[in-house]
């Protein structure tokens, strides 16, 4: 089942922070995050494997709450280059199912 992302869209000024959430109705084994710029292919950001795990990529970090079956992506001091659509992909626990992507969060950073 497709994970739910929120918000669907967010507009920021350069330097502001943003949080993107990804929730699943199923127990999760891992969460993947990707960013896609308009007209381009998605680019891998990070994978979170364990409950409560946090990872960072430049000023982009993420957390994974296994008990709540959700992950959050944190964008700190946004840069213009952060604009794009962010997708989470989830892998359920105890299943051979492949990655299922959410519908995406469109992030626009304005100067």
């Amino acid at each position: 089942q497709q994970p739910v992302q929120s918000p669907q869209a967010v507009i920021l000024r350069e330097g502001e922070d943003a949080v993107i959430n990804c929730s699943s109705s199923k127990a999760l084994y891992s969460v993947h995050w990707y960013r896609q710029k308009h007209g381009e292919a998605p680019v891998f950001l990070m994978i979170l494997l364990k409950g409560g795990e946090q990872k960072g990529h430049e000023k982009i970090s993420a957390s994974f709450n296994e008990k709540k079956q959700q992950s959050s992506l944190y964008l700190t001091a946004s840069q213009l280059s952060y604009s794009g659509t962010y997708f989470c992909g989830t892998l359920p626990s105890g299943s051979a199912r492949q990655l299922t992507f959410g519908s995406g969060t469109q992030l626009t950073v304005l100067p």
Binding site: E40, P42, F87, L99, F101, G104
Partner: protein, 115 residues
């Protein structure tokens, strides 16, 4: 380093015509390969994945098919295209043999328009 190539970049086809999209990966062996479709403004829908030559798993029943004739070649086909087949088709690969927790690396995609 590994690279993934998809072609063509754009394609305009009439309804009922056949389709063949090709994807090749370089710089790695025995990759997992994936075909996704992305409708305008929507998320990524997994169509097929393959863990080896001739091994294809279908995620969504439809008039599309996939084949993997060589280790690093993945082909998406259709005998008769429908209007609903329009979209952005993405091929991706990941390292095989280390479980499902490997990042997927996407090609530049094919933008398919059906008239």
């Amino acid at each position: 380093s590994q690279t993934i190539h998809q072609w063509p970049a754009t394609l305009v086809q009439p309804v009922g015509s056949p389709l063949s999209l090709e994807c090749t990966v370089e710089g790695t062996s025995n990759p997992n390969l994936y075909w996704y479709r992305q409708a305008a403004g929507r998320g990524l829908q997994l169509l097929f994945y393959s863990v080896g030559i001739g091994q294809i798993s279908s995620e969504v029943p439809q008039n599309l098919s996939a084949s993997r004739p060589q280790d690093r070649q993945f082909i998406l086909s259709s005998k008769k295209l429908l209007l609903s087949d329009s979209g952005f088709y993405l091929c991706a690969w990941s390292v095989r043999g280390r479980g499902r927790d490997q990042p997927q690396h996407f090609g530049d995609g094919t933008r398919l328009s059906i008239l």
